[in-house]
């Protein structure tokens, strides 16, 4: 401990500075702790399945009103808004990669790039893997309530969701349908708006870099290998299927 051998020498901090310093240190560390507490927890098991739980109210309110306000955020200014719920704490995650098929004006594929790029250096590859993870942040589509009657002169809201490609096992494409036509008899998933923004942006970047006219982005995912396979002498066909790659075609985006 650095201070074990230190003494309070002549020339130490004046009382006023110590008092001000104490207030500043106290507020700062309190803000850091409150920000760590003001994070949703979970997923926890509930009667309706796994669900996230809200953060403690006192931490959430204090963080929202004092330390991480929308307008003036103390922690935001210091770039200390991370709540230390690290992504690597969740170890059982599917592995994600993506490829972009770059096309010319005639629609011919001129180049295909896969990310994370095995030729990129370790540090850049890690950043590419982070992008791939964001692309996999799908969310469940809420089941349709009933028939929707649009307002006069307005269209029925549409919803995008993953639909299996016919005759191609484990391939999915993005289908867009009227809200009330979303399948009710099966869980339906869709990419988040954030994933779509990211996909479009990355394709635009590659088009700028290569001179391509457009790019089709395809996400590859493979589920985590579970330890249970050690005790399965002959892996069942169903289990084996779970470990094969899945392809989600985000669609073609212009430059």
């Amino acid at each position: 401990m650095p201070q074990a051998t230190s003494r309070l020498l002549p020339g130490a901090v004046p009382w006023w500075a110590a008092s001000l310093g104490s207030l500043a240190i106290g507020f700062h560390l309190f803000a850091v702790v409150i920000n760590s507490l003001a994070a949703p927890s979970g997923p926890w098991p509930t009667m309706q399945g796994a669900d996230m739980f809200t953060p403690p109210q006192f931490a959430f309110s204090f963080n929202r009103d004092i330390t991480d306000r929308q307008d003036v955020s103390y922690l935001g200014a210091l770039k200390m808004t991370h709540n230390y719920h690290f992504q690597t704490n969740t170890t059982r995650l599917p592995d994600v990669a993506f490829e972009v098929r770059l096309k010319d004006r005639e629609g011919n594929v001129v180049e295909t790039r896969r990310f994370p790029d095995k030729d990129a250096n370790y540090w850049v590859r890690h950043r590419q893997a982070q992008i791939a993870r964001w692309l996999a942040a799908d969310r469940a589509v809420p089941p349709p309530g009933g028939e929707v009657v649009p307002a006069p002169g307005r269209a029925v809201p549409k919803v995008r969701f993953w639909e299996p490609v016919k005759d191609k096992n484990r391939h999915f494409y993005l289908e867009e349908r009227d809200e009330h036509l979303v399948p009710r008899d099966q869980p339906t998933w869709q990419p988040s708006e954030w994933s779509m923004i990211l996909a479009r942006s990355y394709v635009r970047h590659l088009c700028r870099e290569t001179g391509a006219n457009s790019g089709e982005l395809v996400r590859h995912t493979r589920e985590a290998v579970v330890p249970a396979i050690l005790f399965e002498e002959d892996a069942k066909q169903e289990a084996l299927l779970d470990f094969t790659e899945r392809f989600n075609i985000f669609g073609e985006f212009p430059k």
């Binding site: 020339g11 130490a12 979970g42 770039k79 592995d95 540090w123």
Partner: protein, 370 residues
């Protein structure tokens, strides 16, 4: 260079001071304990050491991304200007905070080049100890700016920010008081260790504040992260470390089975023990971190964490940043002892004529210095 020779906070009397002899342990109550913990002047060598190692880490981080600097940090890169505009329209807000960055001011590739290479230069100067008060703030601005990407953030980024911020705070506080000119007070010391010797007996309360902030904040990080792990069944089952060992895209079931070998149960039991040890190290951190006799537990855990994060989790810089930050718990006397041993060893090696040093596949004859 006169200014550089005064880095300890010895100024004229300004009201009552905490200059009473150090009370015995437990004496003085909570307030005295708090003041002793935060404001006792201490040898700034630990802060200097953290600066050098932290600065090297920041340089490695920034330079390894140099080949992709425009793609990663530019407004026409992976996440372009249009994407920022679209993100602002997401109902409920962005899942990743959009924060400030100096790179957003760089509207052209040339301006980004200037910001990037200027940042590298500032970090390099801070690392070697030139005008640390100024270069410390510039280093923090650089780290904060180049970690701003909302899509390519890494778990290591908050630790880099933590180190950069408290190192900057440390050098803002070191050398504030004392009998010196205003210019000298604003600019701070011109050169610090290792460019200038750090004599024994030099002490600074500012250095103590910075080192203590690193210690306490890291303790929060480690405990919170440990408690977060308890939200996942895989950590309770002791199987969390299994998954990073077998990345699904690179491992087949046959390979995983073969790697585990015939004693699958013993193998999993070993992973259980390792997983629980990691949890115990994290959640119990405040119980041993400030006790010198358990320093080896702290440093061994930090080293194991470093190696596993880099080679198993494939997360660069996280383990390194944590390990460097945890060196804040080392005593100045220990650091001084280590440095003097190293300098004695290098001096004796240099003084031996014709000393032979094997370096990889070739042999280098080091001529002894007189």
């Amino acid at each position: 260079m006169k200014s550089s020779s005064h880095i300890h906070d010895q100024g004229p009397a300004r009201g009552p001071r905490l200059d009473a002899p150090a009370p015995a342990a437990g004496e003085g109550g909570l307030v005295q304990g708090w003041l002793r913990f935060w404001f006792s002047p201490t040898d700034p060598l630990v802060l200097h050491g953290l600066r050098v190692l932290g600065g090297l880490l920041f340089l490695v981080w920034l330079l390894t991304l140099a080949g992709q600097r425009h793609a990663l940090f530019g407004l026409d890169g992976w996440f372009d200007q249009k994407a920022y505009v679209e993100t602002n329209r997401i109902p409920g807000g962005s899942p990743q905070p959009l924060t400030w960055s100096l790179t957003y001011l760089a509207k052209s590739p040339g301006a980004l080049e200037a910001v990037y290479w200027g940042s590298v230069a500032a970090i390099a100067l801070f690392t070697v100890g030139v005008l640390p008060r100024l270069t410390g703030v510039l280093t923090w601005l650089a780290v904060a700016s180049f970690t701003a990407s909302p899509i390519a953030g890494s778990d290591a980024d908050p630790l880099l920010l933590l180190l950069a911020f408290y190192l900057a705070v440390g050098y803002l506080l070191v050398g504030l008081s004392g009998n010196r000119s205003w210019l000298n007070r604003i600019l701070g010391p011109v050169l610090v260790w290792p460019l200038r010797p750090a004599p024994e007996g030099e002490e600074s309360a500012g250095a103590n504040v910075a080192v203590r902030l690193i210690q306490v904040h890291l303790a929060v990080v480690i405990v919170v992260s440990g408690l977060h792990k308890l939200q996942f069944g895989d950590w309770w089952a002791g199987l969390a470390l299994w998954y990073p060992l077998y990345p699904p895209m690179e491992t087949t079931l046959a390979q995983a089975r073969q790697h585990a070998g015939p004693g699958a149960e013993s193998y999993l039991a070993m992973l259980n023990v390792a997983g629980y040890a990691a949890l115990a190290w994290q959640i119990g951190f405040p119980l041993y971190a400030w006790r010198p006799r358990f320093r080896w537990v702290l440093l061994t855990g930090a080293f194991v964490g470093w190696v596993s994060m880099a080679f198993i989790y494939q997360v660069p810089l996280f383990g390194e940043a944590l390990f460097i930050g945890l060196l804040a718990f080392c005593s100045p006397a220990g650091v001084r002892g280590l440095l003097s041993r190293l300098s004695r060893r290098s001096a004796s090696a240099a003084a031996t004529p014709g000393a032979v040093v094997a370096r990889q596949d070739r042999t280098v004859h080091v001529m002894g210095a007189s």
